[in-house]
Amino acid sequence: MSDARATFLNPDPGQGIGEMLALGDGGRAAKIAVALIAVVAVVAGIAAVMLIPGGEGPSRQSLSVYHYWTSGTDKDAIDALKQAFGENREIDLKFSGYTGYQDKLSMVIDSSPPDVAAHWFNKYYRDYARRGSLLDLTGFWENSGLSQVYPQKIQNLIKVDGKMYGVPLDIHWEGGVVLYNLRVLNRYGISVPETWDGFQLMLSELKSRGVEHPIAMGFADAWPRDMVFTAILAAVGGSDFYQDLASGNARWTDNKVAEAFEVYRDWCREGYFDPSAPGLDWQQALNTFINGETAVYFMGDWACAALKKVGWQPNVDYRADFIPALPGVTPIAIPDLEGFVIPAKAANKELAMEFLEFISDPETQITFASIKGSTAPHPNADIQQYGDDIQRAMWNEAENRDWALPIMWYFSQAVRDRFGDAMYRIWEKPSEVNISEICASIDEVARG
């Protein structure tokens, strides 16, 4: 046993703690230091206790809102919303924006949630609703008249097992949207295609004319890659099959899915995509569009706001439209529907409801959408007041179509992982993959 240990456990009988710890006269500085530390610890402890909120929860005068609009026009839009809601209200508004939002919310929604949370009406939303993490807002919809105002196609996207758990705020056209680089198309005398065959012809024409990789793509994040498949599936599968697959009435092994993968594989084989795609995020891919390296981009209409910011004019420099569908196929519109939910354990539900009433107002939605570059879902929010020609054209077209959410929003993370692997394998070695095997692999996980 070492000397130090022996002394500590078997000190001289005459030794006290002070001597044992060598805190004799020579240790005065050490005594003072220990005393100071003890005082600081006590003061810090008292201060911490005083600062910890009491058990009654926050007063009515405070509202915490979580969102994911953290940059650019998105941030400008939510800031405007905050300012408008805070006007003439004596409340302390805490708007917190997060990247990695889905992760953040999933960690706090059942433990220390905000009063109101922005959310997409995706699988996470439905999972939260089914496990009781969200407040049932069916009564709110009835009492505020929203269920009489909103068309059924919008309510269907929000309804979970017959109940409403969120309120919509804005729409981005996401799935099946194609941005056309009119500067590049005009250079080669190519017009925007109206048909599926025309679309395919346009791509091969661009390639043959020297546009090495006509389709912009960046899938450093998974979702831009998912959008390419969503667009192809919408074009070849149409509304009926798309909704069947989303609801589980069709399988990933069905012919239409294989056909969509085959189109994607053919595009990869032809070299239509930028080989740097795995390392690019969506904005870097948009740069290739702006730089004239690419002519087509499968991206949501929020990219239009980014193009306008660099001075591009709609229908002059770019155009956005739904992808043309195969002949005989009923086209579908795929909105990225966003809104707000109230967590079941929110501390301030009353004020949260007031916030939901505020965002349900058409004027609020118009303010938000006009800054963000999105579309207001409220039927009384007149798009003539804020939209550009492209937005109006797409809204008019979408009103005549069935609606469904982006296809991956209906599936679990395990399916998304398997799907992501498949998309990468096809991208990496398009001539070597077996599409049937890929479809079967995804179907296996989707069936659980």
Binding site: I17, G279, L280
Partner: protein
């Protein structure tokens, strides 16, 4: 029991409570890993993990390779820096400060810095430099992607890594004073240093994506190693060095017979601590390669990131099982460390 003894043991209460909490969470983790759907306990999570999970084994091998890399590369580079900076060169303090700077940064910060370094096309610093040197076409045609390239490491990365592997193995072996000629030693370590990592590089286990991330981790790891070795070198008795010089020993002989053997215990500690920290790799992979741990079959996925991803799906039992496997693998270097400490105490 005397009062002083009682007081002494009383001081142990708080540490014991802390240990109790830690043990509770560990046992909870083990228990959670055995929980199965529908209630009850069983080994189904582990069975699924070992037999039908396509992401587990790649992630585990990535961690094992990370361990090998973390043990050799930062230690080798740190030793080189320490040897160079112990020679009273001009600007020594400046170089020490610059080389040590990365050790002050958080892992996520290092990830953000290197992310910009590795950006594809001509957005990234590395590609810009290579382009300027006329080296963009070197090796693999998708060289430009780095972090997002799941293919085997390009010759460029292999050429950089192999000499450092070799030097690191050489230094570590020399610290144990082997009775073998220097030329034979160089031959053997050269073969090990080249063949072993080259084999791994081309086995499909290791990707350009993973090696790119490991280079970023070595940036800070080398700094810490350098400081540890510099401090240990200060403790080498000057009389030994002077005696060696008097006996006309060359720099190489002094390095081989005095300096490196004196660093043996520090090298062993660094090896074990690096091995332990390699199993905890998360922040760098997350910031550089994203939630999926890289493209195509999760080219740079590691166990900690996979555990986190699985937790997000709500399958807590399965995530716990992955965590348990990670702990058991980490225990190997931990046990070695404890054995080493115990033997040192006994001596």
């Amino acid at each position: 029991m005397r009062n002083d003894e009682k007081t002494a043991y009383a001081f142990l209460i708080i540490p014991l409570i802390c240990v109790g909490f830690i043990l509770f969470t560990i046992f909870y983790l083990f228990g959670s890993s055995l929980s199965v759907e529908g209630g009850g306990l069983g080994l189904q999570n582990f069975a699924r993990l070992f037999t039908s999970d396509p992401y587990f084994w790649p992630a585990l091998w990535h961690n094992v390779f990370w361990m090998i890399w973390a043990v050799l590369i930062p230690i080798g580079i740190g030793l080189i820096f320490a040897i160079l900076l112990s020679r009273n060169i001009r600007g020594e303090s400046f170089f020490k400060g610059v080389i040590y700077f990365p050790a002050l940064l958080a892992g996520a910060t290092i990830g953000v810095i290197w992310k910009w370094f590795y950006l594809p096309k001509d957005y990234g610093v590395l590609n810009t430099i290579l382009n300027g040197l006329g080296l963009m076409g070197l090796g693999n045609p998708v060289t430009k992607l780095w972090i997002n390239d799941p293919s085997p490491p390009v010759p460029f990365l292999t050429l950089i890594s192999l000499p450092i592997f070799t030097v690191s193995v050489l230094f570590i072996v020399l610290s144990f004073k082997p009775k073998i000629s220097t030329s034979k030693l160089c031959l053997v370590t050269g073969l090990i240093g080249v063949a072993f990592p080259a084999g791994l590089f081309f086995s499909g286990v290791v990707s350009t994506s993973l090696v790119s991330i490991l280079l970023a981790s070595s940036w800070a790891g080398s700094a810490v190693s350098m400081v540890m070795f510099l401090a240990a070198m200060q403790a080498i008795p000057k009389s030994q060095l002077e005696a060696a010089k008097v006996d006309c020993a060359s720099e190489g002989q002094i390095l081989r017979h005095i300096v490196l053997p004196s660093l043996k215990s520090v090298i062993i500690i660094m090896i074990i601590l690096s091995a332990i920290s390699s199993m905890k790799a998360f922040d760098l992979v997350y910031t550089l390669a994203g939630m999926e741990g890289g493209p195509g079959h999760h080219a740079a996925d590691v166990l900690a990131l996979y555990t986190y991803r699985t937790l997000k799906t709500g399958d807590y039992g399965y995530a716990s099982a992955i965590g348990v496997v990670g702990i058991l693998v980490t225990l190997i270097p931990v046990i070695l460390y404890i054995i080493m400490l115990t033997r040192r105490d006994e001596r």
